[in-house]
């Protein structure tokens, strides 16, 4: 295998991994605070369509990314209002968010179907980006790829080393204790949920602005759900989410390459691979029930209503 080909494969893997990583790292923070938001798919779709729409109307990719971020946050806020303030069942509310996101994004996106948009600009460092191998692998991506990696480090630092990260984890592990000590449980959960929405929105924007610069109905194709599975796979740890996202990126790319090389298996079976891999990985990681129980935030998905 030539060096160029390896570089191309790694680059493609990075592109496939980034939307998963963005959504997963956001959901990880949300779940660490004890909130189970199953609406990642809906938030990603809204992020994708709003990002694409804003970018194509304004002509600025930055505006598109900012709009997607805000749209994801707005969706998450909707979830938080229902699940945290009105104490609705979190599983049902997350599903509702996805169903609404699928419909709303299709409605908003109608005028944008089939309109082209230039791809998100890539970093270009004179000298570095032209290096053989290292140039394309490390120094020729767009802003969101670097943002996703930076977010992993940032979230790891925040959760493990910062005071408020500790508070957030306490809220997720035992909301009653955190409340008793005097921390604002609901406010922290709002913040964590909205953070998750922002990153899901970015993940969606990456799909519609960089991965395949266009809008198509349901273009996330289950990536929001795969991101949710990644959080379990990562046992709620940021660096494992990073590894998981890149493994999944690899599966996606392997599948595309096999299709491209006329591998003698119908393309539909190859397209099943990422979904089957998700199932396989979930089964393998969940098999150790004790480990899952020890790592799952103890209050995940439970409603919290302070006594009055």
């Amino acid at each position: 295998m030539s060096v160029d080909l390896i570089a191309a494969v790694i680059t493609a893997m990075t592109l496939a991994a980034t939307p998963l990583l963005l959504a997963a790292i956001g959901e990880l923070v949300t779940e660490k605070a004890g909130v189970l938001n199953l609406g990642a798919e809906g938030m990603m779709l809204i992020g994708a369509v709003v990002g694409f729409g804003a970018a194509s109307l304004s002509g600025s990719a930055a505006v598109g990314i900012a709009a997607a971020l805000l749209a994801g946050m707005a969706m998450a806020l909707l979830f938080a209002l229902l699940a945290l303030t009105l104490l609705a069942n979190q599983v049902a509310t997350g599903l509702a968010l996805t169903i609404l996101g699928v419909g709303l994004s299709a409605l908003i996106g109608k005028p944008f179907v089939g309109t082209p948009l230039p791809r998100l600009p890539q970093l270009n460092v004179p000298g570095l980006s032209d290096l053989p191998f290292f140039g394309p692998v490390f120094f020729a991506h767009d802003f969101l790829v670097y943002a996703s990696i930076a977010a992993v480090f940032g979230v790891h630092w925040f959760l493990e080393k910062s005071r408020w990260g500790l508070v957030l984890r306490a809220v997720g592990e035992s909301h009653d204790s955190a409340h008793a000590i005097g921390y604002p449980v609901i406010a922290i959960r709002y913040a964590a949920t909205i953070f998750g929405g922002a990153f899901a929105g970015l993940g969606g924007a990456f799909l519609s602005l960089a991965y395949t610069p266009m809008w198509a109905e349901n273009m996330t194709a289950g990536r929001g759900w795969i991101a949710l599975a990644l959080v379990v796979f990562a046992t709620w740890r940021p660096f494992r989410a990073l590894a998981g996202a890149y493994i999944f990126g690899g599966v996606t790319i392997a599948q595309l390459h096999l299709q491209g090389h006329g591998f003698d298996v119908p393309s539909q079976f190859l397209s099943m691979l990422p979904y089957l891999a998700t199932i396989l990985v979930l089964a393998l990681i969940s098999r150790d029930a004790t480990r899952i129980r020890l790592n799952t935030p103890a209050c995940l998905g439970l409603p919290f209503k302070p006594a009055q």
Binding site: L38, L78, L81, L82, L86, L87, A88, N89, V91, A92, T93, L95, A96, L97, I99, L100, G101, V102, G103, L104, A106, L107, K110, E217, A221, G222, W225, I226, L228, A229, V232, P266, Q268, F269, S271, M272, Y275, L276, T278, I279, L282, A283, L284, S286, R287, A289, I292, K305, Q308
Partner: protein, 359 residues
């Protein structure tokens, strides 16, 4: 400030009031949406919700569309009551369609009117088999059934695409991705002359009655409810949660599979790359709107079927995107979940302090 005050007991009135309130709020939000899209809200609402009901054809179509929704929702509701979240009814429906359609393609020349019964049974078995995968993964490997059943929905969709593009493609079909049309013996008998409504609707009605009897009168239904409400009490009583996972997933899978087989041996009459506008997902809304109760589900499936018909009418008459249907359905579920808070809480305005700390 808005504040929630717990009720001593859940309000029975609000259990039934919440869906009505949610529908009202959805209509208001829908009017705003129509106005934002540049349509006269009153006219749009009439096209959406009244027009489809004004003819015998419309009423028959309403029942036709409610059939798969009700079949899927009954199974899902029983699972949700037991705390088992089967989100993959859409995939089970598709596999049911593949299995039932496969039977139909096996008998291109028919032979007996009983063949359609066979297609339905095999369809139900197909859905059951597909649902057994998340059940096995959950009971054997502790894998979350929400994610596995959903992933399998994508797999099922790809499998159907492969079949209609590949081995099951109609050789005389001008290379369209579709199977041969089924023989008349493999089509469900019509209930009303000249309409598409078929015997599947009657079976759905039986499933609703069966589900009602099971939940309210049988030990199995009691186990489902106890495991869902108080798992610890259920285990103490000797009920086995693992068995409930199997039972609810297999039942909902079989019903969704039946719905899929009914779609292809009913209104569609052949296999196509896409055979459902998301009935399996929408059934989740139907189940909640129907309060996870079979009779409620009957009403809810008719109402949600109306949004499908209304969406089609609005697309033709107002050139509204068909996606408006999905938005309506999503909003309805959102408002419903929000209104459900009223079952257990009263909404109070004003701060606690001003009214006295102990009031």
């Amino acid at each position: 400030m808005l504040r929630l005050e717990p009720r001593r007991e859940p309000s029975a009135a609000m259990v039934y009031g919440a869906p009505v309130l949610a529908i009202a709020l959805t209509l208001i939000a829908g009017s705003l949406l129509f106005a934002a899209l540049g349509h006269n809200p009153a006219k749009a609402l009439r096209v959406f919700f009244v027009e489809p009901l004004s003819s015998a054809y419309g009423l028959a179509e309403l029942c036709l569309k409610a059939t798969p929704l009700a079949l899927c929702a009954i199974g899902l509701a029983i699972g949700f009551r037991a705390g088992v979240w089967n989100i993959g009814a859409e995939g089970q429906l598709v596999v049911g369609a593949i299995a039932g359609g496969g039977v139909a393609l096996l008998f291109p020349n028919g032979g007996s009117a009983w063949l359609v019964v066979l297609a339905g049974l095999i369809g139900a078995l197909g859905g059951l088999a597909w649902a057994s995968i998340p059940a096995w993964l959950r009971t054997r490997f502790n894998a979350n059934e929400i994610l596995t059943s959903l992933m399998l929905t994508y797999v099922a969709g790809l499998l159907l695409q492969y079949l209609v593009i590949g081995p099951w493609k109609d050789p005389m079909g001008f290379n369209f991705p579709q199977s041969k049309t089924f023989h008349g013996d493999l089509m469900l008998p019509k209930l009303i002359e000249g309409q598409r409504l078929n015997a599947g609707a009657a079976i759905a009605l039986l499933a609703i009655i069966g589900g009602w009897i099971m939940l309210s009168r049988s030990l199995l239904g009691f186990q489902v409810r106890v495991i869902g409400l108080a798992p610890a009490a259920g285990i103490y009583a000797g009920f086995v949660p693992r068995r409930m996972v199997w039972f609810t997933l297999l039942l909902s899978g079989a019903l969704a599979g039946l719905a899929g087989a009914f779609e292809v041996t009913g209104p569609i009459g052949q296999l196509l790359p896409s055979i459902s506008p998301g009935y399996g997902f929408t059934a989740i809304i139907v189940a909640f709107l129907g309060r996870l109760h079979p009779i409620g589900i009957l009403a809810a499936s008719l109402l949600i079927a109306l949004t499908y018909l209304g969406g089609e009418a609005a697309q033709i008459m107002l050139r509204l995107p068909i996606a408006a249907t999905g938005v309506f359905q999503g909003m309805l579920l959102f408002f419903l979940l929000a209104c459900d808070v009223l079952i257990r809480y009263r909404i109070r305005f004003g701060t606690l302090g001003r009214k006295g700390a102990l009031s």
